[in-house]
Symmetry: C2
Subunit: 392 residues, 2 copies
């Protein structure tokens, strides 16, 4: 049975209306159904939307005057690859496993998945939606409400099949530390973070600003999970490039982030800290480790790197970083370099890329040349260790 | 004997004063010696400079009011790794092989290098200096003067050891085509181009704007050489990251550019076109090819990619793209995926990363597990084919 460290929840309509304190509820993110004739991404998760009552209906999150329709590619399970468009969608058209925990567990079990870590959708991959909100008191309450729903409701009744993953108020490191500690006390071992905080207008990991957060995560065994897209700005070449270019390069910020951490000294100062790159795939890791070690060795006069990073950077990768993949033959062919203890597996339910419901077949084909002990580490025990799960 | 497809020339002081037409000469880029107490890179190759007559002297290019000191890391041969700083330098302190073709050939031959393709320094990797010039008539004349010096003087007397590589007026595709054709007629088979033209404020490769250039290169057997840095903007995480992070990620734009070309249809429309990624290394190529083919297969509803690109993208890589490396064990361990006919070798003389004068030892160690026929392709015959050299 698989432990998947990267799936997604489409939040059901009631999350904030039920879990926000009374005084915030009239301003809670809520779902409205609208006819949508067209939508165009204008950057940072914001869309220019053309409404038309006679057009196909979509369920939309409405928050602080922004309207964000649900889109088919983030609730893609059950649709054919050739139907996989960016068009809007209602809850009624989604497979219930997208938003309902009981239905999700059924979908997991039929796909040989025993446990799943789910990233947020409306809050975006590390809670950027609330970082960008105007009313930060409301936004802070929304972060806490999401986490309460995540822990108590999404994971609460799931018999351990659903593993909690929280978000933090990214604009206030002290409040973020408090939220990590509040949730660690009820058994949460995973928090969302941005691959590259400066891309969100936040201090870098080199600034020292985030050290209290890293310290809290290290002290409480909370793995820092950075999903592709958690920098908002994706790697890109030009506005008129086919979408396929950005899809190919989607791991770029994960790669940049890993280089950033390897040379930051953060992993040296917090040896118990663990990082996870979600949906980043792994086939690029051997090159980055070799290049980072080469730069560490050859460019040593260029800026005191050895004071910050006393051992070759790959040392800290092997000790403290987890990669994650769903389909990556080159990465598997390079297991000696990627590290058999450093990689975890995902199904990416319910996104376009998801291998559901054929994950086992995909895995068996990919893992054909590996021995059982290695496969077990990759699909299960590395994730159990990373997430402190009560499984064998 | 090695054929190196990525080295660098530090232009001698007389290039433009000798090769520009008479009427431009008083405005030619020229060298002035100045005392420099400090310099700080403020982006796009421009430095904020603190002058002091009592400070160490540097030779500086002066052009259109800009002052650009020579820096030690671009003339690094002969210095120890621990002396490799960004500090200014004079021609007198440089090893003559940096700027003198006869001295260069001596340095090549003692390092088992038979032929070398050299990128520009003052014009930057694809001629950005002249793209950014205010007077475009002068800039155009400077491009032609550089190419005349490159062909007639740098390579002219070298008995074929030095291989010409031209620049183009990037702001005018018709003039660029004319320059490719003018030089092809005297045996030039390599031209500098930008990995990602939009990063220079130019149209993308998807726009169709560059098609006449690609057509001219394909028709004349001129390989399009894109050096790391030819997008000016390097991949970066944050301003306060150690230099080592950017050095580790220096191949990022090459990787983005290759993805861009694979999905552009350019390689489909111009099957005779050849691209070369210089100093990009190769260890990341297997992952990108696998990912691009996966995206092509799995995301097919996302935007008509199959109309532009009828075969899996890796098909065009193997047919039309060359990688290039100087040290990359992972890439060599993945030769089946990188393609034994797709990679070339470099010494990066006289940059910080250069393996000179130990290239043969470095190569022998790296190639220990390869057979002689494979080594010969990598260090020699692939480059001979790519550059249409008159060598065996």
């Amino acid at each position: 049975m698989i432990v998947s460290v990267d799936d997604h929840v489409v939040e059901p309509p009631h999350v904030w209306e039920r879990w926000l304190p009374e005084r915030f509820r009239d301003r809670a993110p809520r779902i409205e159904r609208k006819g949508i004739a067209g939508m165009r991404h204008i950057g940072g998760g914001t869309y220019e939307i053309e409404y038309d009552d006679d057009a196909p209906q979509a369920d939309c999150w409405v928050f602080e005057g922004q309207v964000l329709p649900h889109k088919r590619h983030v609730a893609a399970v059950g649709f054919d690859r050739d139907e996989m468009t960016l068009s809007p969608i209602t809850y009624d058209e989604m497979r219930p496993g997208c938003y309902d925990p009981k239905a999700r567990i059924d979908d997991m079990l039929m796909n040989h998945v025993e446990a799943s870590l789910c990233f947020p959708t409306f809050p975006r991959f590390c809670g950027q939606t609330f970082l960008e909100a105007n009313d930060k008191e409301l936004a802070h309450a929304c972060v806490l409400a999401y986490n309460d729903w995540m822990v108590e409701e999404w994971c609460g009744d799931g018999g351990g099949h659903l593993v909690p993953l929280i978000i933090i108020p990214l604009w206030d490191v002290d409040a973020a530390v408090a939220e990590v500690e509040r949730n660690a006390a009820r058994g949460v071992h995973a928090v969302c973070f941005s691959e590259i905080p400066p891309h969100l207008g936040l201090p870098s990991i080199h600034s020292g600003y985030w050290d209290p957060l890293f310290a809290a995560c290290a002290a409480n065994g909370v793995v820092v999970c950075m999903h592709i897209g958690s920098s908002s700005k994706m790697p890109a070449t030009s506005g008129d490039a086919p979408v396929a270019v950005a899809a190919t390069l989607s791991f770029g910020n994960a790669m940049a982030s890993m280089s950033d951490f390897l040379f930051s000294g953060v992993l040296v100062r917090y040896p118990e800290l663990r990082l996870a790159y979600s949906e980043g795939q792994i086939g690029w890791i051997p090159y980055i480790l070799e290049r980072a070690d080469d730069v560490w060795l050859e460019h040593r006069a260029w800026g005191g790197v050895r004071d910050l990073v006393p051992e070759p950077p790959s040392t800290y990768y092997h000790r403290q970083i987890y990669g994650c993949f769903f389909r990556d033959n080159h990465g598997l062919a390079s297991l000696d370099e990627v590290g058999v203890d450093n990689i975890t597996f995902e199904t990416d339910y319910p996104h376009t890329d998801s291998t559901w419901p054929h994950t086992k077949e995909v895995a068996e084909k990919m893992f054909a040349d590996l021995d059982d002990a290695t496969i077990r580490k990759i699909v299960r025990t590395n994730a159990i260790r990373m997430l402190h799960l009560d499984l064998d």
